[in-house]
């Protein structure tokens, strides 16, 4: 059973518009209020250090105290290690690793420990923690500040991977991630941080995709900022008589095969879009499963759209050419329809 929903902008006038920054901040506030076991740690997360470099954790330490909301030294291994220890000790820490490239410094803690302790202990211990991190090309931050590395983590058993595309999902997935009994990597898209949208404050289950736009000719599967791009392309192509269904994965691992396969079974054509480098990206896994499961019903090979096989470049024209843009997504959809 899937409980995917087709969401349009909520009509309720009481539903507030907010940015992803505000929505995640609200989710943290609500979670900390609901459960005294929820903790926040990371570089500059407390108010004396301005509540996070982008202000996502603003107000938390003032409200909940600096025992529960702790700014840390610049020590990614110790940040994740402290979160793991606190989680094993009965707490629900939300650790911030400021930028996704910085997770590399803490990979031993994340992969060898957070993701494996439940299995290696035979289920005696678990690591209910969230790792928040932001990333995304578009701000000319160059090679070490804007990569999407979700495939590394999706390839690692024991850790879940979530990447909201809008403020409503950011709120709902953050609440679910905090309450999840297992570690969750929560990927925030920096360039779309300040785009306001309605936030309903509904908790969104991990592992469930959302049909962001219904269509009948081709299925586009995307996450994070690529959902926004894909929806814009779908709207444009509707004018040309092409009906595009857009699936927002919301959770990358474990991904919602059922919803994706049901859609592609209907359309017979699929395009997977992600900002990460195309080679060995999650599109390869999704395309492979679609092909294995729906070989007889596919009308065309599954198309994949991803970044160029290079470091994220600094120079603006290069950066634009590196990451998938609406026109590259449109071209892939047309190839799928050929």
């Amino acid at each position: 059973m899937t409980d995917t929903t087709t969401t349009t902008a909520p009509a309720d006038a009481k539903v507030k518009k907010m940015t992803a920054v505000e929505a995640i901040n609200l989710a943290l506030h609500d979670a900390m209020e609901a459960d005294a076991k929820v903790l926040v740690l990371g570089e500059e997360v407390a108010d004396p250090q301005e509540g996070g470099v982008m202000g996502v954790t603003k107000g938390l330490s003032t409200k909940f105290g600096e025992d529960r909301v702790k700014s840390t030294p610049i020590s990614e291994q110790a940040i994740i290690g402290a979160a793991i220890g606190a989680a094993v000790g009965g707490y629900k820490p939300v650790a911030e690793i400021m930028l996704m490239n910085f997770v590399t410094v803490a990979m031993d803690m994340i992969i060898n420990h957070a993701a494996k302790l439940r299995f290696m202990s035979g289920g005696q211990t678990g690591v209910p923690m969230v790792i928040r991190t932001m990333t995304g090309a578009g701000f000319s931050t160059g090679g070490q500040h804007s990569d999407y590395w979700e495939a590394w983590f999706a390839h690692s058993p024991g850790i879940k991977v979530v990447a909201p595309s809008n403020p409503d999902d950011a709120y709902g997935l953050m609440r679910a991630a905090i309450d999840d009994p297992d570690p969750v990597l929560f990927i925030e898209n920096l360039p779309s941080y300040w785009t306001p949208a309605p936030v309903t404050k509904q908790i969104i289950p991990i592992g469930k995709a959302r049909i962001a736009r219904e269509g009948s000719d081709v299925t586009v599967i995307a996450h994070s900022l690529m959902v926004t791009h894909s929806l814009a392309v779908a709207e444009k192509l509707a004018g040309e008589g092409v009906s595009v269904e857009v699936i927002d994965l919301r959770t990358i691992s474990p991904w919602d095969k059922e919803t994706v396969l049901a859609s592609v079974r209907k359309t017979g054509r699929a395009v997977v879009v992600h900002e990460a480098v195309k080679q060995f990206g999650i599109g390869a896994e999704i395309a492979s499963v679609i092909t294995e499961e729906l070989w007889g019903t596919l009308k065309r090979p599954v198309e994949r759209v991803g970044a160029a096989f290079s470091s994220v470049p600094f120079s603006k024209p290069l950066e634009t050419a590196f990451a998938p843009q609406p026109d590259t997504i449109a071209a892939a959809i047309k190839a799928a329809l050929a």
Partner: protein, 327 residues
Amino acid sequence: MSNYPKPDPATLLEIYKKAALIKLNDERIIKQMMAGKLVMPYYSPRGQEIIPSAISVSLTDDDYICTIYRGIHDMLAKGFPLDELWAELAGRVTGTCKGKGGPMHLTCPDKGMMVTTGIVGSSMPIATGLGWAAKLDGKNRVSIANFGDGASNIGAFHESLNMAAVWKLPVIFVCQNNLYAEHTSVAYSRAIDRISDRAAGYGMPGVTVNGNDPDEMYGAAKVAIDRARAGEGPTLIEAMTFRFNGHLLGEAGHYMDKGLYAQAQKDDPMPILRARLIADGIASEAVLATLEADIDARIDVALAAAYDAPFPDVTELKRDVFAEEIA
């Protein structure tokens, strides 16, 4: 060191009991491996028995420990159940980790044994987090991070000691300096004389003690544990010791200095403590012989039960990856 509290006779006997269990258990593991009955990578703690035994007498089940691949001594000293230990070593479903962890990932949260890691240096960041949890709990719990001399050269050491000191966490960092990091001597891999000197760089007390001497080890641990319980923050203890069976059981050991090895064997802490207990009238030869025979009998039972138990079903591959079983 002279101002350290000393273990009373009953505590000294308790230290010996724990240490004897570690030694006899180690000897039995090696025997079983040589007979081909246990197949596993084994990092023998023979020679390091006194360190965790002298620490654990000041701990309760509520206190946390994290240790490393050479950590069976730390686990047994803290009270790891022997039956479940042997079942785990044999890869059986009755093992504490259902046979999914093995010797490098022994875990028993009921006794405060939260994490055993196979990665050099990784016990420290997690023990720091457990120290944070302990502080938040407000129950005067402490968290022990065990690691070796090699781990003191890894970045995680620096990050953990610094964070624990900044946050004044109840963590005791126990560096069991057995003079070799895998095949590299400690003299080769650092430019200072004492690892404990590094504590000054983090603003915490650092001491080097003879880890094979139950008086010194007990005293240093007691002072550090009391300090942590009182909310005064972490301590680094460098406990000097030696490992008699090399890094990995079965290795040739050519890298070891022969003179150093011979001296360490002469200084084997186990016969020394045993003789002292008799000389000081704390326990007679007969009492100790009975105690040791009892341990051997418990091991007999544990290993027989382990070999009789079933292996885990292959469906276990779908369990404990996440809390919810994989479909």
